[in-house]
Symmetry: C2
Subunit: 114 residues, 2 copies
């Protein structure tokens, strides 16, 4: 039966690598999704206090969310004087998503019946 070899195993491994648990964990909170969506509309970095305006929670909580998103590689932070501004790392996110999509399609191809 034309042995399936261990290609599925390789495929699964590369998918697991592409799935980036940290990314999904960072985006499983609705406030963090809102923050990302908001920052996606800004061409310049936004200050913590400005971002907090949009959310319905305390700025300390927003600061924590921003930290999580930054550690997941989704945001970059810059300090300017007293303020810290965060910006979406759009290309990085796009690259990650495209990598995941490619890995999925690869699996699809290797497991499709013919």
């Amino acid at each position: 039966m034309s042995a399936p070899s261990n290609l599925p195993g390789i495929c699964q491994t590369s998918l697991m690598k592409a799935m980036r648990p940290k990314l999904f964990k960072a985006l499983c909170d609705p406030n963090r999704i809102a923050i990302v969506a908001t920052l996606a509309t800004k061409s310049d970095p936004s200050r913590v206090s400005d971002i907090a305006q949009g959310c319905g929670i305390d700025f300390s909580g927003v600061s924590r969310h921003l930290k999580i998103l930054r550690e997941a590689g989704l945001l970059s932070a810059v300090r300017k004087g007293r303020t810290v501004s965060y910006q979406l790392e759009s290309e990085h996110l796009v690259d990650t998503l495209e990598g995941l999509t490619a890995a999925l399609k690869q699996c699809q191809r290797q497991t499709s019946k013919y």
Copy 2:
């Protein structure tokens, strides 16, 4: 200054829609990621008990994870006799990811300085 109009607002809205909180919530558990990666390597639906073999947790927990993934649109389920088999909805996942990528790029374009 060639007013930005409310395009950013539209952009943010479409991104929020594309982000699918349910998807990220479904994929923020490591066991669920493993399940998805495993099912991605199968061309046929897999039975709950077989899927549970791979995970290190009780099959009841696996059943719950499968339910969450199914409700997020990531899996489809089919009952055959006493067994229920789950399969990855690969195309749907790919479409969702590509939609999200496209929405992100759209935002990138609209907010880039020129």
